[in-house]
């Protein structure tokens, strides 16, 4: 027992020492931070890598947006291409050659000038080294020429609008990356450099994986010089902790909250909630079969198992009836707790210029009676004993194998709700919840009737449209949908240079897609953020109507933020300003430890005395 008592004493002593020096030490920390204007942003996802060829998720793209520049940027109004490294490229008459003047005031973070040669190098580097992450942006085997430091000439084998799409490719410094040219893709993807040399308005200077990453403002950038000195992105393991950090003022901005937590912040005077226009859609995508045919071309082998799509899915009436039997508003209300919009076309509404808003009278209203009428008229009148309609052509009951993906937000719950609605119209949804890797296996072999997943995309609609092209079976296509009309429209828009004319084609494409129903677009989930209004002011939404404030397509908020005028200087953690001082806190901790130890020791003495 003597050992035990010694331990108690040691604990008490240690605590006392900590108390004695804590105040002074934390004082130093506060001083060190003084004068630095730091924006603290909370996020759930960490960056995966500082290498742009490993970019995976929102955090990586935000880091990339701040650290690098691209040929074009995106406009604040409608995300159309605007001046960044070039004010705009001019096409030749046949649109196979584009000439882009490059600005002469861009420099790399290490002081070297950024020239047209860097841009040509980046594009060549991607193509020559087969870095598929960005190669889709460089179609028709382009070559690049740089007659001088401020001119880039883009040659294409076919007429193209690729330079103005624009390519979402961060421009890399040739003097840093050239040594990797020709190395295996694995080696290129493994390259890491901190501080990360780019040309953007902020530079990544520190990354502690799983903790935070720091981006420092660059002086005299051609975007301007921001008021804030640095942005620190803090990684949180869960939404609740991030909201608590926002409450206490540890962070100024919390990105991507759950609806429940967003509601809990309502009524707080110093916190504002931002609901961002949806930038992706969830879908019920039908499988049309054809994987077995495409498999040998794509993989060089036949698929592992036979495809199993239901023949009745080729009948437009069946898909139409299903569309009428889905209550999208109920999905919004129950699955997404109101933080989503009912979906119509596959280009989400944040792409304001390209999105086709289907008029309400043309939408597939939730109407089980109408759905039943359609199926009755189409001849699906025979029923099995348990009330499932039978396909008159194949004689198979309308039992559909529905795959939902366990880690896709809302997928399983949406599938479950839809299964209930389908019972009303004599269709059975047998829902399976599978892991993502299992879902890819099903997708590759075509062993499902429909899955509940989703798609996001770039501001330009090209990628989203490519999903529905015949040649994309086992590429981007969900269920090998094929429609020659859509294939033709897709090619046409790729070579239409007039933006308005291209928009017509993109709208027509969406119209046909909506009518033909290769998928039912279910909802557009929204992204919720919250920020403190007593720390900073001047957040700028992108796009300007209902857009997000950070983690978007532009750097406006970072460039524009200023300390909030009402409350004095910002940037320091409020916990150090308004909260209990750390010294006091550690003191309390020490007192508790000493008290417990004393209690045990004295209690023992007393009992010893009693016993003696």
């Amino acid at each position: 027992m003597r050992g035990m008592r010694r331990a108690s004493l040691a604990l008490g002593l240690a605590a006392a020492v900590v108390t004695g020096v804590a105040g002074a030490a934390f004082g130093q920390a506060d001083e060190a931070d003084e004068g630095q204007l730091t924006l603290h942003v909370g996020a759930i996802d960490d960056i995966v890598s500082v290498n742009v060829f490993k970019a995976c998720c929102t955090a990586d793209y935000e880091m990339m947006l701040l650290n690098y520049n691209m040929l074009h940027g995106f406009s604040a109004e409608d995300l159309s291409p605007v001046e960044e490294l070039t004010p705009g490229c001019e096409p030749s008459e046949d649109s196979m050659t584009w000439t882009c003047p490059i600005r002469d005031d861009a420099t790399w973070h290490d002081g070297e000038p950024l020239t047209s040669e860097d841009i040509a190098f980046t594009y060549r580097f991607i193509l020559d080294n087969k870095l598929t992450t960005f190669s889709d942006y460089l179609p028709y085997n382009p070559t690049f020429e740089t007659p001088d430091a401020t001119t880039l000439i883009w040659h294409s084998e076919e007429p193209t609008i690729a330079p103005t799409v624009p390519p979402y490719i961060p421009i890399l410094p040739e003097h840093v990356w050239s040594e990797l040219d020709g190395k295996p893709a694995k080696e290129i993807r493994a390259f890491e450099q901190i501080p990360l040399v780019g040309s953007g308005p902020f530079q990544l200077t520190e990354w502690k994986s799983g903790e935070f990453w720091r981006m420092e403002a660059v002086d005299d950038h051609f975007f301007g010089t921001p008021t804030i000195d640095e942005v620190v992105f803090h990684v949180y393991g869960n939404h609740e902790a991030m909201v608590q950090a926002l409450n206490s003022g540890e962070i100024d901005f919390a990105y991507d909250l759950s609806p429940t937590l967003a509601r809990s912040l309502e009524g707080d005077d110093n916190i504002e909630v931002n609901v961002q226009a949806a930038n992706y859609h969830t879908n019920l995508a039908f499988n049309f079969g054809g994987q077995a045919k495409a498999h040998p071309d794509v993989y060089g082998t036949p698929p592992a198992t036979d495809e199993t799509n239901h023949p009745a899915l080729h009948d437009h009436d069946v898909r139409l009836a299903i569309a009428h039997a889905i209550d999208k508003q109920a999905l919004v209300d129950t699955v997404f707790q109101g933080f989503a919009e009912p979906g119509d076309t596959f280009i989400s509404p944040d792409k304001v210029f390209w999105h086709l808003d289907v008029p309400q009278e043309e939408e597939y209203a939730f109407d089980p009676e109408e759905a039943n009428r359609i199926l009755d008229e189409a001849g699906y009148t025979e029923m099995t004993a348990d009330g499932v309609r039978i396909d008159p052509e194949s004689g198979e009951p309308l039992v559909l194998d529905i795959v939902s993906i366990s880690n896709s937000v809302g997928s399983a719950r949406s599938a479950e709700l839809m299964a209930g609605w389908m019972e009303e119209i004599g269709i059975r949804f047998d829902v399976r919840v599978v892991s993502e890797s299992k879902a890819y296996e099903e997708w590759e072999n075509g062993t499902f009737d429909a899955y509940v997943w989703g798609w996001g995309g770039d501001p330009d609609p090209d990628f989203n449209m490519s999903v529905y092209i015949s040649s994309q079976c086992l590429g981007w296509s969900d269920g090998c949908y094929s429609n020659p009309e859509l294939d033709q429209l897709y090619d046409e828009q790729r070579q239409t240079f007039d933006r308005e004319a291209r928009k017509e084609i993109v709208h027509e494409f969406q119209q046909i897609h909506y009518q033909e129903i290769p998928e039912v677009v279910l909802v557009y989930p929204q992204t919720i953020s919250a920020y403190r209004t007593d720390e900073w002011e001047g957040y700028v939404p992108t796009p300007s109507d209902g857009g997000g404030l950070l983690f978007g397509w532009r750097t406006d908020s970072y460039m524009n933020l200023k300390p909030a005028t009402a409350e004095g200087p910002a940037g320091g953690p409020v916990a150090d300003e308004g909260g209990m001082s750390t010294g006091l806190l550690v003191g309390i901790g020490a007192i508790v430890v000493v008290a417990v130890a004393a209690f045990v020791v004295m209690g023992r003495r007393r009992s010893e005395e009693d016993e003696a």
Binding site: M1, L11, V18, V21, S209, G237, E240, S248, G603
Partner: protein
Amino acid sequence: MRSRRYLLRKVLQAAATLAFVLAFNFVLFRAVGDPVKLLIRSSLRLDPQEQALLREEFGIDDPLPQQFVNYLGDSLRGEFGYSFISGRPVIESITEKVWPTILLVGTATILSTLFGIMIGIKGAWSRGSAFDTTSLLGSLTLYSMPEGWLGMILLITFAGTLGWLPAGGIESSDRLSGFAHILDLAKHLVLPCLTLTLGYIGEFAIIMRSSLLEVMGEDFVQTARAKGVRDKDIRRKHAVPNALLPTFTLAFYSVGFILGGAVLIEQVFSYPGLGQLTYQAIDRNDYPVIQAVFLLSSATVILFNLLADILYGYLDPRVKEA
């Protein structure tokens, strides 16, 4: 002779368990399907040729028996391949994340063992007293409380509402050095460590209490009393050393679980240790990382169990006789 046989038996048992875990780990991660498929539609946009290259790189294009042999060799050499997501060697990530976890779980284990034992002894020795009743009730409550929930309550109270302590992380982003940095680490350690300590303490207190109560009824304690040994000495020299054995085993087992990390608590407090690494790897289907963590944590548990068994055998020779 007998003790050597005991030692051999324990070592063989541990080796057999480890062999089973090794094989099971191999089968488990081959059963989830082709991991390269996960990258097809990710932003890496891998075409079939690149997928084939990756399969070759991960060594999953070989026949299964060949894969198993390679896997055994690699595992024994401590080579766990590269993360699918970050491309970094897995062992590098693990080495980086293991220290925060050892700091957190280690501190919590030491604190809960010390305080748990003290509470248990005091409760048992003054059985039926107000302290005993209160501490037993408290221990049972803490023992049965879900740690994640307790952590969340502490987080909301001390970080969110009162703003006294940070809501997560292992350190602040302020550029601190020296002693200020150490204190910053301590400040971030308080809540997760307190949660784990409270979570473990009940278990230690209860086991210590019941073990001591059992010993107090033993003949040798009665003999000591009959001989007129002072109560304090009976407790210190006769009862407690004998009653400490089960607690000692429990402490050893707890240390074995350190590498498994406190997945839930690290997630609640955004603490960048092995638990967080595991969670993220699962979230992103990063199989090489999951596989390595699984293997290493199982191996640590097995190793510490073996150590506990061996030491137990020496501390209490009756075990070896059995």
